[in-house]
Symmetry: C2
Subunit: 363 residues, 2 copies
């Protein structure tokens, strides 16, 4: 597997013999093991990717069968009492004395234990950050295909629910309808908690659905995404039931214009912050700069939020195969908000918009 | 607030002036702020609990309004660029030079940054573990009341779905039906991904629902829980559609007997491992010891898995107000599995079973 070879090379470059992989999406990316973690403190398994041996998946009795069914090329090792003993035995037996671990997905108290163990047994412990995430930013053709399928299913669900939307339904009801429709349509699960925020509630970019009934004429932000075959989608539409007033129309069109400016800028080689700036300038020039408080977008793949971040500080270059959201927004306390989010795949000379839905052109 | 006073005392005992609270349930427990974290690397906020000042909630623009609405007694501080700068300013301004952080819910790379910062500015950084979790293990009367409500709603949902269960439905369909019914009945969300595992799939204690259709006569493990007003429930029933064969009846009754033995043992003052042993002995004596691979139970509260753990290693004593699951199981590869899980509140002279459902007595 090419991904695994690239990681082995990266492990060697860090001077290590093996990488302990604890981050759940990294684990799935390399091994195919689908189990999520209940929390970071309750892992369903960890990988050991050796530079010189076949990789292993360490898991406990709860997940052993699933691990054997879902992985290929990985030996499955049963952890009986605690991870540390099992890990130590494996390292000592193979005479592997330089262990890298994922500093960005490893708890401080666990790292302290790991370092104590290393000191006691002459094993060098090497923290590394985002090694696999970095590789995950550039998607293969097959991955982009899977992400596109996820995007299209998400749109299908959106349109199904949108058609039936009526004033008087509550935010919670609509959010629930969406998540039920996701599962009925074959999604693994929602990629995140669906946001339905109407009227003044839409002034919070990450609003939680409430029992507020949707009224005619107000903006309703629907931010939704699902997982399909492990890959996430993430889309936001701002809709209005009935006729929007002129201010609403103005703001919706402004956000649309900002999104278009960003889309026209995005291609391999530009800086992430330049994509952000293209959209932000449009919004700022119209006098709403301080009401666009979040960044333009983020990578999407096995995780719904992953690298790269498209924000005004980032100087990293966009690369072909990156899949990112483009989601400018304007939020006015007391009034409401507008956000428009599509996903694109970066190419050498531009970007491919993965969304097909054009609902946002209605206004 | 009493919980806050207890934590302040614990912070003083650790020789610190302030505790940075990053663990989401701890954050909610102390402040009332309900926002979840998208992941440990994407926090919706952190608390600063001072021994000598009023507490603060640090959050970003996405959550500011929500934070102001949901907390009482907490100052809400807007983090504009990054947490570290904001944190440093606050500490320096108040001349607070001993900062404790939650080592068990703090990423290694973030801890490294925090320690660098401390070194540069003469701030002592003190890792602490499970300080608030320890207090959370003993529930107040009000908390037990909320947990009971969560348990009863969970049972209502179970019975609603159970009544309609027919052979031919797939595991996924049933799981989806359960989660939809949870939301329709007013749950905040499922407390974890619902497990529906039929026939041989039930041999995996943490099976993920598949497209397998449920057949007559086989065991079906349904493990479900929901959140209500922040508090979790967690219940497992093993059901059989149609008539179970004699082996199935035997194993179900054995698990029931093991559960009863544990329930009779549990009271304040016993060791956690003794509760585990009471159930395990029954199962082992019947020859199924190695097929009960997990521990007897775990605490439940704001988190669905929290301290204390009831496993064969734990020597910690059960205390009044602890709420734990009691969930023995037997899993036979190729055949299936049986698990029975109720929740109890520990009292001075025994325990109160929070469940009312007796479906498992049918067989």
């Amino acid at each position: 597997m090419k991904a695994l070879d690239n990681i082995k090379a990266a492990i060697r470059r860090k001077g290590a013999d093996v990488l302990l992989v604890t981050q759940p999406e990294n684990r799935r990316y390399l091994s195919g093991f689908k189990a999520p973690d209940l929390s970071i403190a309750e892992s369903s398994g960890a990988l050991l990717v050796f530079t010189r041996f076949s990789p292993l998946l360490l898991t406990d009795s709860r997940y052993q069968l699933q691990a054997e069914q879902e992985t290929t090329g990985f030996g499955v090792v049963l952890v009986q009492h605690n991870l540390w003993n099992t890990l130590l035995k494996i390292l000592v037996r193979r005479n592997v004395l330089k262990l890298a671990f994922e500093s960005h997905y490893f708890l401080h108290d666990a790292a302290t234990k790991l370092m104590d163990l290393g000191q006691k047994h002459g094993i060098e412990i090497i923290p590394v950050s985002n090694m696999i995430e970095k590789q995950r930013t550039r998607k293969s053709g097959e991955e982009i295909q899977k992400i596109s399928q996820s995007v299209l299913l998400n749109e299908k669900v959106f349109l199904e629910v949108y058609k039936g939307l009526r004033p008087g339904q509550t935010e919670k009801e609509v959010a629930q309808q969406i998540e039920t429709a996701m599962r009925r349509n074959g999604a693994e699960e929602p990629a995140f908690s669906t946001i339905v925020a109407a009227g003044p509630n839409a002034a919070q970019p990450h609003a939680v659905p409430t029992d507020r009934a949707i009224k005619k004429g107000e903006t309703v932000i629907i931010d939704m995404g699902l997982k399909l075959d492990g890959y996430c989608s993430d889309m936001t539409r701002t809709i209005v039931l009935g006729k929007p007033d002129s201010r609403t129309v103005k703001i919706i069109r402004l956000v649309r214009k900002a999104q278009r400016a960003a889309l026209e800028t995005i291609k391999a080689g530009i800086l992430a912050r330049d994509a952000d700036r293209a959209a932000r300038e449009i919004i700022s020039r119209a006098g709403y700069g301080k009401h666009f408080g979040h960044s333009l977008g983020h990578g999407v793949g096995l995780a719904v939020h992953e690298a790269p971040s498209l924000n005004k500080m980032r100087r990293n270059k966009l690369q072909p195969g990156m899949v990112v959201t483009v989601e400018p927004g304007i939020y006015l306390p007391g009034w409401g908000g507008v956000r428009l989010e599509n996903m694109v795949a970066v190419t050498g000379d531009g970007c491919t918009i993965l969304n097909r839905d054009t609902t946002f052109l209605d206004i």
